[in-house]
């Protein structure tokens, strides 16, 4: 069947901000879909609230709306744009839920919009547990024993039938929020209550536990002719009980014989047919009893998923692109396999390597949360690695995680590496309760003498995986202590084939990474690069997508190209603080290079990204971002330079070692980068150019710390100079607090000093992004933070252009930016954080590289900054590029962030100097207050226009909250407060209803009101990190129940302004393309393609 001609305009919904369970994989799938459909001549209307995406680049769609992903907004846009069809399967669960809601509300019918890909009925069948279970029974497939309950009472009744342990899964949520495993009635009550809240339809499913069963996933594609193919099979290293997003996974399946695999394949075909996903990709999960082979279906996602992204990268089969084309009527046999060109998309990829994915966790950011893995996803990112053996792929993946590990132990980082032996009981406990470090405890278990069988009985990790780990362990133990020179060429090659990094070999042989490298190269042991080609070399492949291994034949095409070439180092696995924003920049750099006819060579290890889409770069190397792996590729490619500015901290950390190894770094010199990062050099620099920074000092002992703090004056910001998992940064207000910090959080030692900075209380923080070619410096964006200084800039909302900074200070900011960019000889991007206190400008931090805000600023001013920066690095000037004037838009753009608090029970929701947010949204409007309001809605804070406000603020904030309360009262809100705040407000003539604190014992108290959703807005500020239980519970419940809340006065003020304006004027929505028409120069339309 050829493509449909009865539809012309297609609406695509993105997945919104990056949250746990929904990351940049949907930017990858969405951008592929946009490209694929536009290539077919369809007009695309795109809606997504996340500015840090490639899909929201104005050239990706005909109409791009960066607006909140809520039904009202979509209805407005549908009414305006009148699309013929809505493709709901590429925007993750958010896109699917939204499309389903629009269908349910009758919006799609009203405006005659057809759902393509998956119909309403298919979405319901797959997503509603009850429907799904019935459907599976109809086709004779087993599902675990289960019951749907809508209340706690029903759950307690159902458990008698199902028995413990039981898995609790809420219906209609993201990645299993609120789910968990209950082993007793108490846990059941707890998890079911949370699950009911998290479910959009207040429904949870109790499921017979298949804990310890082997878990598999199949990625399935179907077309209109009912052709069904399996793209990839995935076997989970972690058995059932750990969310698949939190599991180490391996492709293809390893321990299934053909008959067992085919049985699963047939079941998957039956599932997609029965659910009725007409076209596109689906993901189906199975569990298999390791002792009997009994198979059950766990769940199905009737859409492209995180696993589809992984499967696409693992096989080279572009699932999202093909899914988009199938949705408009093509069939699999009509579409070409891009990689081989001569074969069709109707086939099943076969691979000749092993793929391992390891999730990246961030428990260190949430010390109150237990490091435990359950059926509710906790990881924030992932890395993937490819090798010819499981051992090689696994060790590469560990190195690619960027957690300071270089393989499966033997890197000096495992306790047993350095002669520390953990108690056996601890090891057993860590094996039995899944956690983010379990893999490494397996090594400790081997060291402690546990057998494969014993470890199996504690973990239920398949013995075959354990055996392979044991091999790695044994080889490293045999090697330990042998001098490097005594290792034969054959043995060294075998070590490399097992995935041992030079770093590990250096540790084991008591040498250095560089020495191992030299010895290796002297023996002629170099990596070979193999192609990922979907077909195990059966056909000639054209796609330049490579991984390294140590084999005989090198298929690298590095030497075939006569073009100039540049390597771009990507950002690696997503983590808090380094995510999609940097991948966005890398993709722009790739595009910029290719537009100039230069080979863009991408290195990255994150399968969720657009940058690892094989048709983005000229050559793609899917490799860990370590010194060793990057330098190997550098030596293979011999490029004209390497770009380190765009991938965030990852490439920056590599910049200096690579520079010292003789690598040519493009753009700002690593020496200048070091000058900005090294505290003492940085102080000297500021002094030289006459800029101020908050008073600061270094302390090497507790006494010294007290002295320094005294000199500087409280409050002070303290942090260790060495970064240990990025935590332990704190604002302290008194000597007592400082002492407590020193005693509990860090060890102050001469070799581990702590840094003490004066903390500027209530200062206004400003973020500036600028671009410089060494001659001309142009300020790209001045962002005024909504939250005061002290909240991590990555967690702060901000507005561009600024609204509260006096012109004189704006000029000063510009001047300081010019001076700093010139002094650091910036060639490319620079980000500076300023604070304004009492009309004085302070420099907090300078980063001569692309910052997290580059995508936001680029979207806000309509200038592709990362592209321009790339061209500058190639030697072009801003004058050549026609960008010499700062853009000051007539509209306002607000960036707001989203937090993963719901995933981490027990964590307080307050903001501080430690970054905790996972993603961001953007609100654009002609008025600042409406732009802010849109950003709030997009971030999930539905600002109320009437109702009841609860106010409870710390003493310091009381004077400032009066004004806010007055405005709310005038707007008709009822104000409630606990006694202290109430009294204070009443003194200013505000009518306040007093309500008991939790600790007072009288009911109903404030928590009752919150639980009953009788509070519509909450303003609650807390001092310091240690908050009272009362305040913690209040904030936690408000967050869990989606009650809009502000935890800072500045945030509250902005919210109230927005509410006031919203009562007068309702939202209107415009496409980015329309906003850009008001700019003096539309960069996207004119300047980029030369």
């Amino acid at each position: 069947m050829p493509k449909r001609t009865d539809i012309k305009k297609i609406l695509i919904i993105g997945s919104g901000p990056i949250v746990i369970g929904q990351a940049c994989e949907f930017d990858y799938s969405g951008s592929q879909a946009c490209k694929a459909l536009r290539e077919e001549g369809y007009e695309i209307v795109l809606v997504n609230s996340n500015p840090a995406t490639i899909m929201t680049d104005p050239e990706m769609a005909d109409r791009t709306y960066i607006e909140p992903l809520i039904p009202e907004v979509l209805e407005y846009i549908i009414k305006e744009e009148r699309p013929d069809a809505l493709l709901p399967t590429l925007g993750g669960q958010t896109g699917l839920n939204l499309a389903f809601a629009l269908a349910r509300k009758g919006v799609l019918e009203k405006y005659k919009v057809e759902l393509i890909g998956a119909k309403e009925s298919a979405i319901e069948k797959a997503e509603s547990r009850e429907h799904f279970k019935k459907a599976m029974e109809r086709i004779g497939l087993k599902v675990p024993k289960s019951a749907i309950v809508k209340s706690l009472a029903e759950a307690e009744k159902a458990i008698k039938e199902i028995g413990f342990p039981v898995i609790v899964r809420p219906s209609f949520t993201l990645g299993g929020t609120g789910g968990g495993v209950a082993y007793n009635i108490e846990e059941l009550r707890e998890i079911v209550s949370a699950g009911l809240e998290a479910s959009l339809i207040h429904e949870v499913m109790l499921e017979e536990s298949v804990l310890g069963w082997k878990e598999y996933e199949l990625e399935v594609m179907r077309d209109f002719k009912d052709n069904v193919v399996i793209i990839c099979s995935i076997e989970n290293f972690d058995p059932m009980g750990v969310h698949t997003g939190d599991s180490i996974t391996v492709a293809p399946s390893q321990t299934l014989s053909d008959v067992e695999y085919q049985r699963m394949r047939v079941a998957a075909q039956a599932v997609i047919r029965e659910i009725g996903v007409e076209t596109g990709g689906s993901n189906i999960q199975f569990a298999i009893n390791p002792d009997t082979g009994e198979m059950v279906v766990i769940e199905m996602n009737p859409r492209v998923s995180r696993s589809s992204a992984l499967a696409s990268k693992a096989t080279g089969y572009p699932i999202a692109k093909i899914a988009a084309k199938l949705a408009v009527g093509y069939t699999l046999d009509e579409l070409a396999n891009d990689i081989t060109k001569e074969t069709k998309a109707a086939f099943e990829p076969t691979i000749d390597y092993v793929v391992v994915k390891i999730p990246r966790f961030t428990f260190e950011k949430f010390p109150e949360a237990k490091d435990e893995l359950t059926t509710s996803m906790r990881s924030v990112g992932e890395t993937m690695a490819i090798g010819r053996t499981f051992k090689e792929a696994l060790q590469k993946a560990i190195a690619g995680l960027e957690i300071g590990r270089f393989g499966f132990g033997a890197d000096g980082k495992s306790p047993s590496d350095i002669g520390e032996f953990l108690p056996l009981e601890l090891i057993k406990e860590k094996l039995a309760r899944p956690n983010s470090q379990r893999l490494f405890y397996i090594r400790e278990a081997f060291k402690a003498g546990l057998t494969i069988d014993e470890i199996y009985r504690l973990t239920y990790i398949d013995r075959w995986f354990l055996y392979n780990l044991w091999q790695v362990f044994t080889v490293s133990e045999e090697l330990k202590g042998r001098p490097l020179e005594t290792i034969s060429s054959e043995d060294l090659k075998e070590l490399k084939q097992m995935g041992f990094t030079d770093y590990q070999i250096a540790f084991l042989t008591g040498s250095t990474e560089i020495e191992v490298r030299k010895r290796r190269l002297a023996l002629g042991i170099k990596p070979t690069y193999k192609l990922i080609d979907t077909c195990a070399a059966e056909f000639e492949a054209y796609t330049p997508y490579f991984y390294s291994t140590y084999e005989v034949e090198n298929e690298s095409r590095a030497r075939l190209s006569k073009n100039k070439k540049v390597i771009i180092i990507g950002g690696g696995p997503n983590r808090i603080g380094q995510g999609i924003e940097f991948d966005y920049c890398c993709v722009h750099a790739v595009k910029a290079l290719r537009e100039r006819g230069i080979d863009a060579i991408m290195i990255n290890s994150n399968p969720e990204t657009v940058s690892t889409d094989y048709d983005v770069s000229t050559r793609l190397y899917f490799e860990p971002l370590t010194f060793e792996h990057v330098l190997n590729i550098y030596e293979e490619e011999e490029p004209d330079g390497v770009i380190v500015q765009f991938g965030g901290q990852t490439p920056l950390n590599l910049a200096m070692p690579l520079y010292k190894a003789g690598v040519k770094i493009l753009g700002t010199s690593p020496l200048q980068i070091d000058r900005a990062e090294d505290r003492e050099k940085f102080d000297a620099l500021l002094e030289k150019v006459g800029l101020k920074r908050p008073k600061a000092g270094i302390a090497r002992s507790a006494d010294e710390a007290l002295e320094v703090a005294r000199k500087i004056g409280y409050p002070v910001l303290v942090r260790p100079s060495y970064v240990l998992g990025g935590r332990a940064m704190k604002i302290v207000y008194s000597e007592a607090e400082l002492m407590e910090y020193i005693e509990t959080a860090v060890k102050v030692q001469p070799e581990h000093p702590i840094l003490i900075d004066r903390f500027l209380e209530d200062a206004l923080e400003v973020d500036v992004d600028a671009i410089s070619d060494g001659e001309t410096v142009v300020v790209a964006g001045i962002m005024e933070h909504i939250e005061e200084a002290g909240v991590h800039s990555g967690d702060s909302a901000c507005i561009l252009p600024p609204v509260n900074i006096p012109p004189k200070l704006i000029d000063e900011i510009r001047r300081a930016t010019h001076v700093l960019a010139k002094e650091l000889e910036v060639k490319g991007l620079i980000n500076i954080q300023f604070a304004i206190k009492d009309e004085e400008l302070y420099v907090l931090e300078v980063n001569p590289r692309a910052s997290r805000t580059i995508p936001f600023v680029s979207k806000a001013i309509g200038v592709p900054l990362a592209k321009l920066a790339t061209w500058i690095m190639l030697g072009e000037s801003l004058k050549d590029l026609g960008f010499t004037q700062e853009v000051w838009p007539k509209y306002y753009s607000v960036k707001e962030v989203v937090f993963p608090f719901k995933r981490f029970p027990g964590v307080d929701v307050t903001l501080g100097p430690e970054m905790k947010s996972t993603g961001e949204v953007m609100g654009i409007d002609w008025e600042p207050s409406l732009a802010y309001a849109k950003a709030q809605f997009a971030a999930g804070m539905r600002l109320p226009l009437s109702g009841r406000v609860f106010i409870s603020v710390k003493d310091e904030d009381k004077p400032q909250v009066v004004e806010i309360a007055k405005v709310l009262e005038n707007l008709g809100f009822e104000i409630v407060a606990t006694e202290g705040t109430a009294k204070y407000l009443e003194d200013f003539g505000i009518k306040v209803k007093v309500i008991p604190k939790i600790s007072e014992g009288r009911r109903p108290n404030i928590l009752d009101l919150i639980k009953n959703k009788e509070i519509d807005l909450m303003i609650n500020t807390a001092k310091g990190k240690v908050s009272k239980l009362d305040a913690y519970l209040i904030r936690r419940y408000a967050m869990e129940l989606d009650i809009p809340y502000a935890t800072t006065i500045s945030g509250a003020r902005a919210m109230v302004c927005s509410i006031r304006r919203l009562k007068e004027k309702s939202f209107s929505y415009s496409a980015l393309q329309d906003y850009y028409k008001t700019l003096p120069c539309n960069y996207y339309a004119t300047k980029t393609d030369r």
């Binding site: 109707a346 092993v354 034949e553």
Partner: protein, 380 residues
């Protein structure tokens, strides 16, 4: 660092060679070197008689992971001449596994080599075609071994069926094998006469599951003897080697044409094609894997199929009244034919799978339809 390993040499006829290590002890063997792209199914592949005389390289690097079980046998023994993998897995994990792959190969005297850059080997075969080769732990001088390889028997033009076909007729029915029974037991609704050119057990299993009893005949059985047992249908099995080297089987097939419905698979398809007067040719490196898309031209749908063939029937030489039912989507080669007047059809691929997808099982139903005298919607 490690225990001593037994070094091994793999040599291709053109002098290209690879080093590896034996995981089955010493040995030396010769055969046509081919690759299979299936990621699962090594036990079925090793016991598939179509691989007789061939050295099989698996493109998937880890082989042996799920061990060897008692059920997934496609014939009574290992048929390949040798086996090449990237990393042999001595430790296996599967609830059905009974022994390790290495032990099993060793027990049957088949040489297995690991530690080979199998992708490089595969690419070489892809670029230069499947060719004669050998592997050894004994003649480690490449020059000397190349001479031996050149002297080894050719694969093309040789009758290999005679080495794998059953020496005498036997019975397979609902109760399994009966090697002493040489005629139908007359219980079943469908009596299928199977001409064994190197059949795979799953073909028998699938027919019995559908209510048939099978009488298996040696490949050189004349048509009259087969017809004397009064079967409802004739099944032409798969088998090894060059189909043009089997004039006596083609002759039998010709004599059976039109007498009873006929269903042929793989070599059986090539036999039917020749019986219908077409000739065959050698593909450069054959189709061996379980992911090959085949387009069913009659219903427009794609089947993912299991394939194992190095030769192909020339479609253009078939009589006009023969319908082309299936083609390969990758290279458009002939995959299926149907002669309606003769009630005979065949496919080049393996609908019985084992290993491979179960997409094409309907073809067995088609055969049973023909035996019932129905020919409506035969291929949908």
């Amino acid at each position: 660092m490690k225990k001593e390993r037994l070094k091994a040499l793999i040599m291709l006829e053109d002098g290209t060679h690879f080093w590896g290590y034996s995981f089955t002890g010493p040995g030396e063997t010769f055969g046509e070197i081919v690759f299979n792209t299936g990621m699962t199914g090594y036990q079925e592949i090793l016991t598939d008689p179509s691989y007789y005389g061939q050295i099989v390289t698996m493109t998937y690097p880890l082989i042996g992971t799920y061990g060897v079980n008692d059920e997934d046998m496609e014939s009574a023994r290992i048929q390949v001449a040798g086996f090449i993998v990237r990393e042999y897995q001595p430790y296996f994990s599967n609830y059905r596994a009974r022994r390790s792959l290495g032990d099993w190969l060793k027990e049957q005297g088949i040489l297995g080599i690991e530690g080979v850059d199998t992708r490089a080997l595969t690419r070489h075969i892809r670029n230069y075609g499947a060719m004669k080769g050998g592997m050894t732990t004994e003649t480690l001088d490449p020059k000397k071994f190349l001479e031996k390889v050149k002297e080894s028997p050719d694969y093309v033009g040789r009758d290999l069926v005679k080495f794998v076909t059953s020496p005498k007729p036997y019975y397979y029915g609902p109760e399994g094998f009966d090697f002493n029974c040489q005629s139908f037991k007359n219980k079943a609704q469908y009596r299928v006469a199977v001409l064994d050119c190197g059949l795979k057990y799953n073909q028998l299993r699938l027919m019995v599951q559908r209510g048939a009893e099978c009488l298996v005949f040696p490949a050189d059985t004349p048509a009259e003897k087969i017809l004397a047992e009064d079967p409802h249908g004739i099944f032409l099995s798969n088998g090894p080697g060059d189909p043009s080297a089997l004039p006596y089987v083609v002759e039998t097939a010709k004599n059976l044409l039109g007498k009873r419905p006929i269903f042929g698979i793989c070599l059986g398809h090539q036999i039917l094609g020749q019986a219908l007067s077409a000739t065959t040719y050698k593909l450069r490196f054959g189709h061996r894997g379980i992911n090959h898309p085949v387009l069913n031209l009659l219903n427009g749908r794609v089947e993912i199929t299991s394939q194992n063939h190095g030769f192909c029937v020339r479609a253009e030489e078939l009589p006009k009244d023969v319908i082309i039912t299936h083609i390969n989507l990758n290279d458009n080669t002939l995959e299926g034919i149907y002669a309606p007047d003769l009630k005979a059809f065949s496919v080049q691929y393996h609908p019985e799978n084992a290993p491979g997808p179960w997409d094409s099982l309907y073809l067995f139903d088609s055969f049973f339809k023909l035996m019932r005298g129905e020919d409506e919607n035969l291929f949908s």
